[in-house]
């Protein structure tokens, strides 16, 4: 953009296309550009570089007024429930999160709540061994709600500070699977008041406009408290989280930037916004 000499219709189109290409969606990109045009008129902006700076500010505004960081309950265990569609990165994220919490001196237990997919329990078990935390699991095919129940009892009995629960991937349009998730949420809140203390939607950054439907339907089912945006180490920018934050008020709290247990970072609005234009 520093190549451009003046602000013209072509530049506006170019800026809007950067947003669309980041998966922000036409509707949200359009809205942000219209806001920027208003601002440019009011402030009589003449320089393209200034325009880009204001655009970044406008995008960052979407992320203000938010709960940063994961909630910790007054009484242990603090319970985190990980949900999301198939293959988004839930199980791997649990390994990373368990590692982070353990490193800050907490006793962490993880629950193998995916009793359906082939080798899902074994996969989480490998993470438990790697990180050095306890895992609660049942047989393949058993009721996920009963695994959650057992995990909560074990966490209380063993004084765990944190319990992180894995669930099976499910497409948000599958009515019976979403009902199963609702039931899991109810069992958790019945056993521990105010739990789950965080219900995190694990969302693949390469996802396009379907992410809004995912966020809406998962939110309707289990009231999301935040999003983990995974695979941001790829080339996708994850722009659809702007629409999600705008329309649903669900904040991105963490980002996944790789496949090892260290690859978890706090969401950084400045870094995210800069990356949209890099």
């Amino acid at each position: 953009f520093s190549m451009r000499k003046k602000i013209d219709e072509e530049l506006w189109e170019e800026l809007e296309e950067v947003l669309i290409c980041s998966d922000m969606g036409v509707h949200t990109s359009n809205m942000i550009i219209e806001d920027l045009k208003k601002k440019a008129r009011e402030l009589k902006i003449k320089e393209p570089e200034q325009l880009v700076e204001h655009l970044k500010e406008r995008i960052k505004e979407c992320f203000s007024n938010r709960e940063l960081g994961l909630f910790t309950a007054e009484n242990k265990p603090t319970i985190y429930l990980m949900v999301g569609v198939n293959g988004s990165g839930k199980t791997t994220t649990i390994g990373k999160l368990a590692r982070r919490l353990k490193n800050s001196g907490n006793k962490v237990i993880i629950a193998a709540g995916d009793t359906f997919r082939a080798a899902a329990i074994e996969q989480l078990d490998v993470w438990a061994q790697r990180v050095g935390v306890e895992i609660i699991k049942n047989k393949q095919g058993s009721d996920p709600a009963s695994v959650c129940f057992d995990a909560i009892q074990a966490s209380k009995a063993r004084g765990a500070d944190y319990l992180i629960i894995d669930t099976a991937g499910r497409l948000q349009t599958k009515y019976n699977l979403m009902n199963e998730l609702k039931k899991i949420g109810k069992i958790i809140s019945r056993e521990v008041s105010d739990a789950p203390h965080e219900t995190l939607l694990v969302l693949d950054a390469t996802t396009g406009q379907n992410s809004l439907s995912q966020a809406k339907l998962f939110n309707d089912t289990v009231s999301l408290t935040g999003i983990v945006l995974t695979k941001l180490d790829g080339t996708a920018k994850g722009g659809m989280i702007v629409a999600i934050e705008n329309e649903l008020g669900v904040p991105v709290k963490l980002v996944g930037v790789g496949e090892t247990m260290e690859d978890l970072q706090d969401f950084d609005p400045q870094a995210f916004t800069d990356a949209l234009f890099s």
Binding site: A119, E122, V126, W127, K174, D204, T206, G208, N210, G234
Partner: protein, 292 residues
């Protein structure tokens, strides 16, 4: 839906009398919007709407009694033509074993699709061998073995300490010994920008010469579909595409983007988590879905 939006536009335009070029542009904006909302890549959308405009002008839509229907028909026909004919044929080697390899981004559905494809081939009377060449992901080998047990299809593995190149060449030898006529290789998920892992794919290709390399793409992928597909095609070379998770409500615009940028056909579609949830690709169905 796009159809209703176009009807509305043309109703208003007809009141003004004769249609002009900028009227066609307002119609094309709706087409562009529908395609972007369906996750078709922006550059692909631009090329596509340009082609639609040429056809629309050529067919003189303003003389039509039902211009909205005509535009929809042009768009649908153009989409269907671009997606190629229904072609779920796999290349089989004149001398067995035929070697198929599935590649793609993390979590796209490769391992599950290897099982589905093997099941499909077994039902066709072939004798498949699945190859556990993902030595990185925790329990990836176990995942394929569990699927193999469910389907009564053998799985070749050398554990997770061996180089995937050695695993694949070992599998070819084993297939001959077992009398298997088709080998399906499950590879580890990888980023198209990971130089080492892309190199690994090139090395596997050099060593075992797969007859068919299939790119597995999650149907909910957004604008990066073009970058991803093009990079895999340029660096490794692909023969076809399998689009997964089409049992969801993603519009699947990636189908158009991937075909447009690689020219390679979509051969199969994944429509569920079970091992029988694989369908051949039907271009007109996907075209309707993309248009909403």
């Amino acid at each position: 839906s796009l159809g209703e939006k176009l009807q509305g536009i043309f109703k208003n335009l007809k009141r003004k009398g004769k249609l002009k070029e900028q009227d066609v542009d307002s119609v094309l904006r709706e087409v562009r919007l529908a395609l972007l909302e369906a996750d078709v890549n922006l550059k692909v959308v631009k090329d596509f709407t340009k082609q639609v405009k040429e056809k629309a002008v050529g067919q003189e839509i303003w003389n039509s009694l039902t211009p909205a229907q005509l535009i929809i028909k042009i768009v649908k026909d153009q989409l269907t033509e671009l997606m190629g004919s229904a072609n779920s044929k796999l290349t089989f080697a004149p001398q067995p074993p035929t070697i198929l390899m599935l590649i793609g981004l993390q979590g796209s559905g490769k391992t599950t699709t290897v099982a589905k494809l093997s099941n499909y081939l077994k039902k066709q009377g072939r004798n498949p061998l699945m190859v556990a060449a993902d030595v990185y992901r925790p329990a990836a080998i176990h995942q394929l073995q569990v699927l193999g047990e469910q389907l009564k299809i053998p799985v070749f593995s050398m554990g997770d300490k061996q180089d995937p190149v050695n695993v694949c060449s070992g599998a070819v030898k084993k297939a001959v010994g077992l009398g298997c006529d088709v080998i399906i290789i499950d590879s580890a998920g990888r980023l198209h920008i990971d130089e080492d892992l892309m190199e690994e794919l090139k090395n596997i290709k050099l060593k075992v010469r797969p007859h068919e390399i299939l790119l597995v793409v999650d149907s909910m992928i957004g604008q990066e579909s073009v970058n991803v597909a093009k990079t895999f095609e340029d660096q490794v070379g692909i023969d076809g595409v399998i689009l997964t998770k089409m049992d969801g409500d993603a519009r699947g615009g990636a189908a158009l983007s991937v075909k447009a940028v690689t020219g390679k056909p979509i051969k199969f579609v994944g429509i569920g988590e079970k091992t029988d949830a694989l369908e051949p690709f039907y271009p007109e169905r996907i075209a309707s879905r993309i248009l909403g």
